[in-house]
Amino acid sequence: MHSSSPSSPAVGSGLRALSIAAAAVMAVALGLVFFYAPLDADQGFLQKIFYLHVPLAIVALCGFVAGGLMAIMYLRTREARWDMRSYVAIHMSLIFAVATLITGSIWARGSWGRWWAWNEPTLVSFLIAFLLYATYQPLRFAIEDPERQARYASVFAITAAAFVPMNFIAVRLSTAYLHPRVLGSTSNLPPRMAFTFVISLLAVALLYATLCSCELAAKRARAQLRTLRRLADARAGAGADAGGQSRRTRSETPPMPAAGTLAAPAPRGGL
C-alpha cells in the first residue's frame, strides 16, 4: 500500500490489480478446499472450516502487529499517512478477528457440541485481543484534537501489538494442562492439505490487503473532498467580502478519526 499523490485518482490501478488478484486466488482456494484437499480422518468434512478459520486468525494477528509497526512509523515521522494506515490495519484486523471468533465457534459447535471452547488457545486469546482492540475506536473518538488523537492511538496500537503475542503465550500455557486441544493443530499436515492451506492463507491475506486499500482510498477521497470544500467555502467567502481578507476557516473535525491530519495533501498558498 503506497500513498498516492494528491492528484492521482483514489482508485488507482494498484487497487484494481489487487482486487482482481484477490478474487482469483480466493476462487482457486475455494476450489482447492472442496475439490482437492483430502478429507480429514478424524473430523471429516467439518475440518474444511480449518482452511477458513486459521488463515483468518493468522491474517488478523499479522494485521494487529502491522498496525503497531505503522504506529511506530507514525511516532517517528509524524506523517499522517502512517496513522491512517495504522488505523485501517487495526480496524480491518478487528473485523477479521470477529470473523475468526465466529468461524471458530461454529467449528467448536460442530466438533464438540458446544458453542465455545475454553481449551482452544487460539479462540480464547482472540477473544481477549478482540476485547482490547474494541476499545481502539472509542479511544480515538474520545480525543478531539487530531494530533493528540493520532499520538495516543499510536501508543495504544504499539502496546496492544506487544500484548498480542504475550497473551497468546499465557493462554496457551494455561490450557496445556487441562485438555487436549479440540480443534486440531496445524502441524504435520499431509502435502495436499498443506498446499491448500497455503493457498487459502494467501487468499485471505490478499482479501485483507484489498479491503484495506479500499478503505484507504475512500479515506483519501474523503480528505480531498474536505479540502475542496474548504477551498470552495473560502473562495465563496472571499468573493462575498468583495476583495477583503477572507479567513481560511478550519473545517470542523468530522466524527472520523484522524480527520484533521488527513488534510496534508492540501495545496498551499492563498487564493
Partner: protein
C-alpha cells in the same frame, strides 16, 4: 495417519458437518459483502458531495467570468 479418502469428490454430506462448514463460509462471505455495501454507500456520499461542490463552483465561475478562472476541479 491414513487420509485414504481422496477429496476428489466434493461429496455433499448428508450428515451435519455440511451445515457447519456452509455456515462458516457464509459468515465470511457475508462479512465481505457487508463491507462492499458499506463502501458503496460511502461512494455514493462522496459522489453526491462532489456533484454539489462542482455545481457550486460552476455557478460561482459563471457569476464571475473574470475571476481566477482555473477551477480546482479535475
Amino acid at each position: 495417519m491414513p487420509t485414504a479418502l481422496l477429496g476428489a469428490l466434493p461429496a455433499l454430506p448428508l450428515h451435519e458437518a455440511g451445515k457447519y462448514v456452509a455456515a462458516a463460509y457464509v459468515v465470511a462471505f457475508a462479512v465481505v459483502l457487508i463491507y462492499v455495501a458499506i463502501m458503496a454507500v460511502r461512494l455514493s456520499h462522496i459522489q453526491r458531495e462532489l456533484g454539489e461542490l462542482s455545481r457550486r463552483e460552476r455557478a460561482a465561475a459563471g457569476r464571475q467570468p473574470d475571476s481566477t478562472g482555473e477551477s480546482q476541479l479535475p
